[in-house]
Structures are given as structure tokens and as C-alpha cells.
Symmetry: C2
Subunit: 407 residues, 2 copies
Amino acid sequence: MATAGRSGVGTNQEDVRRHNLGTALGHVHRAGRISRAELTARMGLNRSTIAGLVAELESLGLADQAKPSGTRIGAGRPSVDVKARTGAYVLAVDLRVDGLTVARVGLGGVVRARATGPVPPDHDPYAIADSVVDLMRLVVRDVEPNAALVGVGLGVPGIIRGDDGLVRLAPNLGWHDVPFTKILSERLGPIAMPVLGNDADLGALAEHLRGAGVGVDDLVYLSGEVGVGAGVIVGGRKLEGAGGYAGEIGHMPFLPEGKLCHCGARGCWETEIGAPAIALAVGCPAEQVGALGEFLEGVHEATPDLRVVGRHLGRGLAGAVNLLNPRVIVLGGYLRSLFPLVREDVDAELQVHGLAAPREQVLVTLPGLGGDSVLHGAAELAFEPLLADPVGRLATACLDVDSALAG
Amino acid sequence: MATAGRSGVGTNQEDVRRHNLGTALGHVHRAGRISRAELTARMGLNRSTIAGLVAELESLGLADQAKPSGTRIGAGRPSVDVKARTGAYVLAVDLRVDGLTVARVGLGGVVRARATGPVPPDHDPYAIADSVVDLMRLVVRDVEPNAALVGVGLGVPGIIRGDDGLVRLAPNLGWHDVPFTKILSERLGPIAMPVLGNDADLGALAEHLRGAGVGVDDLVYLSGEVGVGAGVIVGGRKLEGAGGYAGEIGHMPFLPEGKLCHCGARGCWETEIGAPAIALAVGCPAEQVGALGEFLEGVHEATPDLRVVGRHLGRGLAGAVNLLNPRVIVLGGYLRSLFPLVREDVDAELQVHGLAAPREQVLVTLPGLGGDSVLHGAAELAFEPLLADPVGRLATACLDVDSALAG
């Protein structure tokens, strides 16, 4: 997405400079490495302004300038490349029903360290917050001196209220109105205010920025995480809905006399394609349902029961195709492992239930980021304040997280 | 929606002036009448610039200045009101399965004349285009001298390709890849290029601008027009999808072993809440199915069969609530007449199948524009070029449509 820079007349000069600095950093962050000429083209500002912005990013420890990596084409001076430097980083958390992943992610979206751990079976939010902090200690242990922590982002399989990060409902964690943001922020203190996002929304964000949906403005990311949620991007923007609750695709009515869903209704789509239904179809033991994806990796042929699940998946996807007309549908979570087994059945149902015009435009595919879509999305969420105002965010960033967390 | 005016430095002055003139006209058009002070506030430009823009709109015959209608509050000079003048108008067409409505609509969204007629039972596009032109002749007969026709917009119950206005599929007209835009434009010649829109999309647009969804950024408009389509507005913008085909909510999979749908699939939602299903439930004769809304006006109590339809309606709406989290759902077409009969059943199913967080935020309601949502939406579509560039559009507008159509 090209973003035109703002010119300075009629608005506060300092605001404009900060905005342009953030925009430039955003381009560098998303590309990892970008030529100054390309940056100039994307921002629609003149070369000397761009040179000034890049110099400022360098002095802030956020970017390096380097000789171009590619072959020189044409005459004229070769443009200098701008690389993201990991002088600033975030902590990203992927909280799943079956486990916890914490990563230290540098500018440019580079995972510098990661740690995983279990979650307590009772999903006690206080115990989970303690585990999150324990894993954070591990990943910041060898952080570069003076590197600045600029954000903490978490992906949670639930419905998050935007105002205060209250988890309104995370059915598979058994959470109703759990103030997890508050619980975790009490443990992190002044290090950084954690920001929570719905796991599917973050998966969509990451796949859009760095995965199977780069350059795609209409995308659906399906998270298979016991239940099934969707992160939807329409016209390049996240589908939020009135309260930020959009995307609960697992609760589309699907079978009128179907199984009872944990939400209280009967026959929601996820009663047929959720982890318990799939586990039943492949004979996965109850205690392994949380790690269904791994179990499915060991399955090499679809049983007739699994093929029924595949058809339910395809029929439901057709509904998403007809209503949302996406260019790409990314199947995340355990759906990553399921899809290769039942692709034919999915395609066949899509063929029958998808209307021709939108069906011809859609690609159903696996995540470009493998199993890390949500983790990367959590990192992107945490980077947002830095990209909005690099100077302002750095001014209040924590420079010694290791000691702060040890204390 | 407040729209900041553009300042002139760094861009082409003439472009900026045209843009600001269009933005000012847009505010006047949407409000019908607006004080100059309010216009100044909404555009974020200074008073003398606004005065200049309003004077130019006056000289173009697009606006009048008038003494304020309200009581004077506070000291200071009272602000002058700016009113839309009908020096420019559009022709709006609502093409339904059961009939055709054509209206002459002036700036401010005022219907100045309307005419209705039948559509041939075989839905031959050439014959329908002839009927459209016949009705146009009627509504332009007493048009003011020198009034300028600035656009022709049509609402069609089908899937329209954005590039060229090809009707890819209008199942209830029996149209597949019908170049109706081309057929009609051959009849209109240089008068104006017709622009087609999906009926539900236009209903959503009109309800958002002038109906039950004013100020609401997340809205679903359901058109009941034999089949059922949705126009969806998310975050204040139309949900287009990759190819402009989004909104085919009638083809959400609903009953796996349900009735065969005209789309070729089985059990689409509209097989249960479409006009034929409702007609069956209320004993509406086959030949009146096209005018089901009128028939339902004569029904005063829901039969058990109709209550089943109401429950299907509610269950499907819950799916839209869970996936899209809209603030308002507007029920248009024959659903306007159905809803009051089955409201309790709709509400009961919404209660069961809607997740609490999004359900608590949604209002299911009737159109603010009665049966004219699509017609008004077609008019808004036709006004768009004028609002984008008033001077440019007026320069090529047709000033004597009456003679041109007679020829």
C-alpha cells in the first residue's frame, strides 16, 4: 500500500515530521530492507526529506543504511538500502488452549528468541499471566544492551473489548469477562502496557503483512484453535464491526438440529469442524485434542468420517466466499494440518455451494508464516505505537527489561 | 462523517478547489439544508473559503443561500443557511422482479417525479430497457428549463461486474452475463452513461446516508426481492470484496439437506426465507409471489408455517451478527412486511444463536426510507460524479433530456 507523505503547511510541522518518520519506519519495518529510492517513491516526498528521515531513524537506532544488495541497473547513482535495525523490539505472546509461545521480535518482524510452555489445565488467568512473565524472562535474557522494548502484544482465542482489553469471552479457556490485560499489566508494571488481540484477527494481520496475503486487500484468516474464528480484512482494512467483535465465523448457524455448541446454541459451524469433531473423526484421544494439529500430522489418509468434516469445511467456506468475496482464505491452526488431507472434499463443496463470480476469485491456502501467524500478528500489534510515533514511543520505552522482570 | 478540506500547497490548486467544491456540495446534498457555520466546521476550512465555495455553488445553480430556519441562539451574526437547489438532477431506476420504478431525483435527495411500470414476464433485457426509457420520458416531462441531468443510476437484483456494469448473475430475472449497461446506454445515447448497482448495496447506501443508518458505520441492509441479498457497510465503507461481489447472504449454507436453490446448491438460506417459501407459508398464489410484500400487508397474524420462516430469518440474522457485528440490520423488500408478523420468533432465535457481545449491540429494524431505499441508493450512485467534480460534470451534462429522449 502506497502511503503519501503529508506536506507541512496548514498543520503542525512537528506533528507532520513525526507522522512521516513513523510512516518511513513502517515501510522499513514491513519490507525488512528497502532502497531509499523505493521509499521515496512510496512516500511521495522528495529525496532530501527522505534522506533526513532515514538519518533520523539511524540516529534513533531503528535503521541502518547499507549498500544495495541487488545488481545495479541503469546509469545514475545506485540508491542506498535502508535496513531495519533491532534497536527496538517487542514481546509477542501466542496464548493457545494447549500452550503458550513467547517471542522477542525485532523491527523487520525478525524473531530473535522464542520460548514455549504449557498452560495450566484449569486456564487460571493469574497462573497463565505468571507463565507469560516466566517465558518473557527467558527470551529477554540475551537482549542487546540498550535495545528498547517498545510494546507487548498478545493473541488470545477470544472476544476482546477494545476499550480496556477485557476478555469478554474465550470459551475454550473458560473465560467470561476476564480482565487479563489488567492482570498481566500488574505483573509487567512500567515495562509496557500489554495489548490483546483476537487470535484470528492477528493471524489475518500477519498473513496480510508478511504471509500468504501480501498485497491482497480482501482476506479471511481462519484460526483452528479448538473452536474456529475468523480474522477478516476487507478493502485492506480489518473488519472490526460495531464493537470489534466481528469474525465469529465458527458460530454461523450450520446444522439446525446439530450438536450443542458451548455458546449455548445448536448446530454452529464449529460443532462440525471444531477440534472435538475432528478428534472424533480421526480417533484422537481426548487428552490430545488441544494439540490436534500435531496429531493430524501423523495421519496420512482421510477416513470417511474425516472426509465428512472436509465437506463441512468446504460448505462453510462457500458461505464466507458468497458473503465476503475474499481473494484469499488462509487456513490456520489445526486447519493447516487438516486441509491437505481433505482438500478434494473442500474443493468439491466449494464448487457446489460457492457462487461462480466470487468462487472464481478465491484461493484457499495455507499460512505463509506456518504456525507463527498469530505470534507475528501479536508482534505487529505491539509495534503499532512505535510506528505511529517513533520518537515519542522510544522516549518512554524500557531499556532494561531483564532487570525489570527479575525484580 | 467530518471531512477535512484539503489545503492548497503541494498539490494542484485547481484540483484542490474542485475537490473542495465537491465536498461542500456533498454536505449540502446529504443535509438538504445546512448552515454555513456547520459547513465551515465540517470541512475544516476558513469562513471566507467556505463563502467562496458556496457562492460558486450558487452560480452553478446547485445551491441557494437563505435565512436560517431555526431560532437564533447566542449573540453574533446568525449564520446563513445553504440549501440544495434542484438545478441538477438524476434519473434513478429500481428494477425489481415484479416491476420498475423510475424517479427524477433532485439535489438533496428529493424525489421530484416518479413513475412505475410492469416488467415483461420473460424479463427480456431489451424490452426492459425500452420500458425504462418510456418511464424516463414521463418523469422528465415537466423538468425545470435548464436543469441539468448529471447521472443515471439503476438498482438491479443481481451481481454486477464493476468494470463494465455487466450483470453477471441476476437469478430471479434469469440473467446470466447480460450487458444491461450497454443495452441501456445505446438507448440513452449521449444523455448519460447509466451506472448499475446491486439492489442491496444501494439499499445499504441510501439507509446509511438518509435512512435508519444515519451516523451508523456498521450496517447490513437485507433486500427481500424473491431472493435475499445483503448490502454491507463496515467501518463506514461499503463491503465490496475482491470483485465487488460481496453480500450474497442468501446463499449462506443453511440447511444441508434443504431445498434445491436456483444457484444449484441445496439448502441456501434463501430457500427458507425467499419469497417462494414465504408464499407457501401464507398461501400466496404463485402469480403474486413477485409482489409478496403487498400480499403480506393483508396478512394480520402469523400462521405456524410463517413463524417457522421467522425463526429461519432470526437464525440466519444471528449468523450475520456473529460474523459482521453490525450496529443496525435493516430489513428491506418484502422482509419489511414480514418482520412485524414474526418479530418475536426472529428475536427468540437471535437470542439463542447470537453471541452476547455482538448481539447486545445490534438493532434489527425497518428501512427509514420505506420502500424507496433502493431507488434512493440508485440516485446517490448517479450523483457521485457530480459530487466528485461539480464543474466538470456540469460541463458535459444534458440540458434537454425531454427532447433527447423523444428523438
